[in-house]
């Protein structure tokens, strides 16, 4: 695609420059920043992947499940007195407040996911509707939630919330890793490992895998399909709520009605990149997408390239591995 476009452009415009020195100079900071954002992508991507695994549905409304979580964080922390300034609190009070915000966000997101499932998808499932219908419904739900928030909160982002001032922790290859990056990456990875173990070990997890593999047989074997589906949506919601906290931590002024959409698209791309339906694929895809975007924008000289690079890589990966890097396997084995 790039080459064809390049041909159609007058020769005088060298609009692609590879700035290798800049990449070398900024390599480690790009890596750590990419991993931080990638971890957030990955948490949201899990929600897409789980629902896709069980229902074969791209839950386009998941980005709104996420943004509702962001508003949960915003209202909780605003209520607790957080604002644009660095809070004047001791370490444990901050931790306590953040945990509270985390819980509220997770509950808010999970509740949204639950309502979306019940109101929009369940009636369709009952009628055995074609998949396009599900997808359009998902898009409709996404628009509805987004613009409900728009009408309620207006077009502007909410006031910035600073949770704590990032302090340097490590110095790796001359680049500082700060406390914020560390908190986000560690917490996200812990949550994902927990989710992975839950899916593969617990009784409910086995049920999820069984439904993903073959809903009809799973039902015959005594698995309550409806309960599994709703559980899957709720797990996705909980993770999206957690992602919301880290997102607001990273981008304090990112709470906005439309804030979820772009991130949702990226997270979905991450899920596809890693292999949709695959829990570990979501982690891998998220981190990779974060890294690729960051390297790409530095190499090509402007952050306007981030999405172009990310999507081009996604397309290329899909051409080589049509089912993503790790393949689709939430209990599914395709011949």
């Amino acid at each position: 695609m790039l080459s064809t476009l390049a041909m159609s452009v007058p020769a005088d415009s060298n609009w692609i420059n590879f700035d290798v020195p800049a990449l070398i100079q900024n390599f480690w900071s790009a890596t750590f920043d990419g991993l931080t954002f990638g971890a957030i992508y990955a948490l949201v991507a899990l929600g897409y992947t789980l629902v896709y695994g069980v229902l074969n549905l791209i839950n386009f409304a998941h980005s709104e499940v996420f943004i509702v979580g962001c508003y949960g964080v915003f209202f909780t922390l605003s209520f607790l007195g957080f604002g644009p300034s660095v809070p004047n609190l001791d370490f444990w009070s901050i931790v306590l407040n953040l945990v509270l915000a985390l819980v509220v966000a997770m509950v808010a997101s999970a509740l949204t996911a639950f309502v979306v499932e019940r109101v929009a998808y369940k009636p369709l499932r009952k009628r055995n509707a074609p998949r396009l219908v599900f997808l359009i419904t998902a898009i409709g739900v996404s628009f509805s939630i987004q613009y409900l928030i728009f009408l309620w909160r207006g077009p502007n982002p909410e006031v910035a919330l600073t949770m704590f001032r990032p302090t340097p922790i490590f110095d790796v290859f001359g680049t500082i890793i700060d406390s914020q990056q560390l908190v986000i990456v560690l917490a996200a990875v812990v949550m994902m490992v927990f989710t992975d173990q839950f899916i593969s070990r617990s009784r409910t997890g086995r049920g999820i895998r069984a439904v993903a593999q073959d809903p009809d047989t799973a039902t015959l074997m005594g698995v309550n399909k409806e309960r599994i589906i709703i559980t899957t949506f709720i797990i996705g919601g909980l993770l999206a709520g957690a992602a919301a906290l880290f997102y607001v931590m990273r981008i304090p002024s990112g709470v906005q009605y439309s804030g979820g959409f772009v991130l949702g698209v990226k997270a979905f791309a991450a899920a596809v990149l890693g292999g949709i339906g695959n829990v570990r694929g979501a982690l891998l895809g998220g981190l990779l997408l974060g890294l690729i975007g960051n390297y790409g924008q530095i190499l090509l000289g402007s952050s306007q390239w981030t999405d172009v690079v990310a999507f081009v890589v996604l397309v290329l990966v899909l051409l080589v591995r049509p089912e993503g890097i790790l393949g689709t396997s939430l209990g599914r084995s395709k011949a």
């Binding site: 452009v9 055995n128 419904t137 899909l318």
Partner: protein
Amino acid sequence: MSMVDGPTPLPGAKASQAAEDREAAKSGPGTSADAPRGGMFKSFGARWNALPRQQQWAWLTIVVVLAYLLPVINPPLISTEPGNNFALACFDMARFALIAVGLNVVIGYAGLLDLGYVAFFAVGSYTAAMLTSPDSTFLKIPYLWTVPVAMAVAMFFGVVLGVPTLRLRGDYLAIVTLGFGEIVRLLATLIPAMNGQVGFQNVGHPPGLEADGTPIFSNANGTPWYWLVLTVLIIVLLLAGNLERSRVGRAWIAIREDEDAAEIMGVPTFKYKVWAFAIGAGVGGLSGALFAGQVGFVNNQKFDVVTSILFVAAVVLGGAGNKVGAVLGGALVSYIPLRFTAIAEYKYLIFGVALVLIMIFRSQGLLPARQRLLAYGRLAYNRVAASGKGGTPPSGGAPGTATSTEAGA
């Protein structure tokens, strides 16, 4: 996926077999066929198909004449004035209808979910702009020539995108097309020759001057533009009808219904998917070029994912797979915010809620799809009906179209 382990492709075929057999025996063949397709539209479709050809022709002529006269009549309740010039509103409705008809080929016929359709519209717009605007460094050609060029360029992009990605199935295609749409928009920003948000001014228009020296196709003059797009729309509808009632249309529907089975029945599915993509892209490019000519200014705004999704919404609202439905859906999606400017704030919310409600309660859209896939089907079906054994032909299923000229029905 394995071919044999999949779910029963015709849901409940086995389970409901006995019931259907009984019903069929009782009521005679054919009559139960389209029972689920209820509602007032069904009776309309049935009545329409029952009309003799001459009457269908007469009604069609009236509808087309009324459509042409729409901006001249400027009917009081329907008019978008005083907020928006009604002739231009008509133009916008026709443009949206044209886009929806093109996208309907991709989504409605071939069942390929394209979430980046706006990219082809953008390619068409930019082609027309860059070949006519004084802000561009390219060679300049008369505007009317840019229209076929824009179609060709958009089709080329359709093929370039389609060949690698159409091997992917369903949802992967959705994300890849969505990504492609974003890439085109971002490249319009990144490539200096495409002028980013600065854009191209004074895009060309068809020749001709009014008595007072202003161009007939001035961007303030909606009526000639509307007539132009309406004419193009009718031609595209006729051609789409031709394709629908040919092996091409049958191949598309077969792919939509069961891609593996289609391939095994000898349909070169990949080739026809690329064709669907290319034809859809061509119509998108065509509408883009017409739009660029009317507005006279093209920049990188408004070629975003949300616009793509509005296009999809137009197709689905009208009834995916039905080209007349696509016209209706496209026109409505454009008309409602222009007419009810007071509710502009709410339009996306209304869209969202409407999409959900329509999908839940009327998932086949306002005008449910029923393609007529045989150019001479009426001959055969009439024979079946006449033989007395077949009962009445099913309402939607009596493809009463023997010539392409009815495509606009």
